[in-house]
Point group: none
Chain length 246, copies 2
Amino acid sequence: MLSKFKIVLVETSHPGNIGAVARAMKNMSMENLCLVAPKIFPSADATARASGANDILSSLERCETLEQAVADCHVVVGASARDRTISWPELAVRECAEKFVSAAFSDVRIALVFGRENSGLKNHELDLCQYLLRIPCNPDFSSLNLAAAVQVVCYELFIAAGDYRQPEIGDRGADPLATAEQMEFFYQHLHQTMQDIGFLHPDKSKTIMRRLRRIFNRTHLDVKELDILRGILRFSQNHNVKKGND
Amino acid sequence: MLSKFKIVLVETSHPGNIGAVARAMKNMSMENLCLVAPKIFPSADATARASGANDILSSLERCETLEQAVADCHVVVGASARDRTISWPELAVRECAEKFVSAAFSDVRIALVFGRENSGLKNHELDLCQYLLRIPCNPDFSSLNLAAAVQVVCYELFIAAGDYRQPEIGDRGADPLATAEQMEFFYQHLHQTMQDIGFLHPDKSKTIMRRLRRIFNRTHLDVKELDILRGILRFSQNHNVKKGND
């Protein structure tokens, strides 16, 4: 059940934190770790702090970009300080665990993404996330150590998996959810269409695309729905108005 | 409410762990730290890992024995590996937090005692404890890092203290959610546009519109997002492709 979760660390600076994350994961029966462009790895510091969780370090996945790391995941959750300038769906960590450990998401792979120790996730990385994960904490001292944050998240997942009872049916249909990679192709198509129909001003393009991503990211499209939306985009691109009626 | 809890560390070996504990405590609005015969303290490692929680390090209490550390406490809870030879009342960490944060224990001071990194608490120290604290975890890899264990415990205390609210759907940002009526106008506009661009076959119109409604109904659009989507619909309707390219 916990094997469908993947912990993704983006450009971690301190290898000791990578080892501490591996230990925290193994303490909570988590297995899948992915490093995106770590500054230093492998490292004796990582091995020392892993304190026996060597199997996690030796089987981890490495990627150059976050896009690659989450390409095979259906749900992407970013752990980052809240962006106050634009609205984003937030999940408290317990709520996140209860939601995604359940059977309604049983065939779904979920990435939990943790940013750099000092600067978190960048905007183009947040764009890949459907939710922001919030660890409730002291508002005046809210930056947890990376491994401490992973420990709390994995602990909540472990508890949720233990309390887990098989619900009767998932509330969605039989079509599988779209992966992050399929969503990226959709966003590229959407962006091109917005330009083709003259909706996107190049100078506003980033903000608008970010808002559109947020709408579709939080709706968990399945592959059939994605087909319909891309069909609509194709017809929009090719739509030939005989007479301008504006 | 959290000020009645005291975190007690017994003969900690690594000063870095003391700093990390201070950080974990402050992240969760805990203040009272007590060190029983630390191997090395103060230390630059402790200060570095505290990462700004210096007030906790500078105001901490030091004792020579656990007896002294818990002398002013009414309840003493030991975090230690389970002693299988003797039965002991056990509390899971969530249960412990919910029990002792409550008003029923409002005038009570509670010590949460963490043992040595490698060997935990000794028998004469366990004798001072009324309860053993259990952090649910992987039975085959159950030794958490000291600061990680403190982080989980303090997190549960913080949650139980209730300075925490599940984010609501409407919490995303400042823009109000669209009303049902506004959504109906949007769906009418969407339906008309699908016909204008030639996407909707009249005989399939109901099924497709139902699927599109499901997508947007579950995404909880706010009024600003609705404006953007209706803008896109207008541009689609008026899009004049000079040359058909299909």
